[in-house]
Symmetry: C2
Subunit: 110 residues, 2 copies
Amino acid sequence: MVRHIGQVSTDAFTVLAEPTRRRILDQLRDAERSVGELVDGLGVSQPAVSKHLRVLREAGFVTCRTAARQRIYRLDPGPLRAVDGWLDPYRRLWTRHLDALERHLDSQEQ
Amino acid sequence: MVRHIGQVSTDAFTVLAEPTRRRILDQLRDAERSVGELVDGLGVSQPAVSKHLRVLREAGFVTCRTAARQRIYRLDPGPLRAVDGWLDPYRRLWTRHLDALERHLDSQEQ
DNA sequence: CGCTCATATACCTTGACGGTCATATGAATG
DNA sequence: CATTCATATGACCGTCAAGGTATATGAGCG
């Protein structure tokens, strides 16, 4: 029912489902990196990495800038915040559990 | 390198990548439900729902108990907490941004 | 301007997954 | 104990995505 004008960017969970992509995000967590740097330490071919980067880019997880002959990729927090937001209504499941536990412990006090 | 003894349970992100499964979780957020109740309101065939429930079960997202002829499914917070935990090191990306913004705004004050 | 380094794309093969239809299980019920 | 209701499983099909190899693009350099 939802109309999309242009390209439908893959949804965040689908993007995160790929282990290699999560490892890429891990690598970008602390610093931005060139494609070559990502290829080393991932143990995957360069084309594979480039394809994952494209997916990540189109879903907004990363941005890239050109520096000389390299492309430097950088993490964008947006989609991860969205996932965080999706989790929000579920969070009470465990915080409430904690609350209940606390009440229980409180009732045990004397 | 990790050895698994029995069935390798699908990882949490892969499970969440499926929209129908997320809708099932949504439905279980407020109350436990039977398979039939889930089938209504999902618009998917009963076998499809059962298969998704199996995936969710094996990944620990839901538990089920038998009540008369029905199977009642209930949400288990475990794997969602794990996802929440995975997000943790990324969270500073936006909290830091906030910090930076605050510092900026502070510096603008007079 | 031809060469090379860094990255992206094309093409192909393979494997996993979701859906449906048909059928099996298994508990309640008459 | 046969039947029926609720759910699970199996067989089959179509789709899609990931990985690899080969190749195209494109910026910098001699």
